[in-house]
């Protein structure tokens, strides 16, 4: 396993956000974590990247125990988080944001080349490269966040609600792009509320409820399960 989260618990004071959750991702795989707001999905990712310290459990990455690594160490080893709300630095230009993605890298020539590839793929970013990121639209910001994440040269990219706030057409484009970057060999751990879309590209998925992993399996197995149907695909679920 590339990422192996074992029996992870995260508490904020007296509130248990994640309870004994085990989630794993193999090299090159796309795995989805589904669940309602407050199910503990974001806390799981924050613990995985080292922004919060778990109260118990282990995080193994590429065979090493990464539980006590700093965020910078996890990044250097190929684990990256594209956070919820994208967290683009609005007082930096588009290009400076991309350069921040490569903060730990020293091979600046390769970085420049990769930034050029991102501009080719998303011409809107290229045209605005020297403008402050605050001029970008929601879709452009999300593509910038993914491009910034990719510049860290990760082996596994974790994405927290990347489709949030995007129009159906942009969600379509986003998922097409995620499939594209997965084809380059990059594994994805995708936290999503857009259940159908996420199951459309994932090879496996976990369902979280109140901090626990309550179901897991292939999209086919989960879609056949009445509980998932009732909770996430019934009325009100986004298509």
């Amino acid at each position: 396993m590339l990422l192996d989260i074992q029996g992870l618990s995260v508490r904020y004071g007296r509130i248990a956000a994640v309870r004994d959750a085990s989630v794993n991702v193999a090299e090159g795989e796309v795995v989805a974590v589904l669940g309602a707001n407050g199910a503990g999905k974001s806390s799981l990712l924050k613990a995985a990247i080292g922004l919060v310290t778990p109260n118990s459990g282990h995080i193994l990455f590429a065979g090493s125990d990464a539980t006590r690594w700093s965020t910078a160490q996890r990044l250097a080893n190929g684990l990256v988080l594209v956070p919820e709300g994208r967290r683009i630095v609005m007082s930096l230009t588009v290009e400076e944001n991309l350069l921040m993605g490569a903060y730990a890298r020293r091979d600046l020539e390769a970085v420049r080349k990769e930034i050029g590839v991102i501009y080719e793929r998303f011409p809107n970013l290229g045209e605005r490269r020297h403008m402050l990121a605050s001029v970008l639209s929601g879709g452009e910001l999300q593509m910038l966040a993914i491009g910034r994440g990719a510049l860290a040269r990760p082996r596994l990219m974790m994405l927290d609600e990347p489709s949030l706030g995007l129009s159906p057409r942009l969600v379509q484009e986003l998922f097409r792009h995620l499939v594209e970057i997965n084809r380059t060999g990059l594994a994805l751990l995708l936290v999503e509320q857009n259940t159908r879309k996420a199951l459309g590209i994932a090879s496996r998925a976990y369902v979280m409820e109140l901090g626990r992993v309550v179901m897991s399996g292939t999209p086919g197995e989960l879609l056949a399960d009445d509980r998932l149907e009732a909770a996430y695909l019934g009325t009100g679920a986004k298509a």
Partner: protein, 289 residues
Amino acid sequence: MFGQQVVNGLMLGSVYALVAVAFTFTIGILNFLNFSIPGIFMVTGMATWAMLKAGVALPIVVVLGLALGAALSFLVERFIFRASTHSDHYVPLVGSMAFLILFENLVLIRWGSDLQRLELPFADTSMRIAGLVIGIPQVIGLLLAVGAVWALAAIMRRTRLGRGLRTIAENPETATLLGVRVGRVVPTVFIIGGVFTALAGLLFAVNYQQVSPFMGEEVALKGISAMVIGGMGNIWGAILGGLVIGVVETAAITWFGARAVDIGVYGLLLLILFFRPTGLLGGHAGERA
């Protein structure tokens, strides 16, 4: 006459400007009003006097003075800022005030409360340009101040460190997420602030040839005012604010007498705050540092 006042004011203002840059840089990136800055300014001034009196050559005094400022500022980071990372904003502020008072009293114990005079061989060297008398040490001081700010602005604009610092300024957690080791970068902010403060202390000592354990207090008020006039967090604003205060101060002395100085300076501060609450160059966060 007017031209001469502007020249004198710019020289005085360059000292305020450097102190204001130290204040505004720390605030802009760490959201921390560091009251130890005037203490470091004073210690460097006093150390300059003591070293020159002991016969140390000026270039060595400058290097040691800057190193002293950086070291003291680093000490403040270790003891106050780092320790209170998870406390309320006011905790490091009050802690840095404690450092100011500590510095003042340590200097009082060592050298007493007297005003000390510096003897400098080149103090009276000046040149005349178009009828204006311009002191050469002062010109060097002004050039150094502008040059140091230009270098800092270039670091902030163009380097990896600068991008990391601007990311910390906007959101420390985002910076961490991108691989910035915030705990290791923050001391850099203090060291840069300490060097600017020490440069101001050196310039003051050399230009005005007198130092005292209390020289930090007035400069603190003027430096903070310069920062606010220029726009919080904006280093070019701090330079502009410092120079404006310097010119207003010398002009007020000439035309209205010494008692009108503070009315002129702080009246201007209030006027600017009334009409431009964000300061002369202050705007949204995107224009910062």
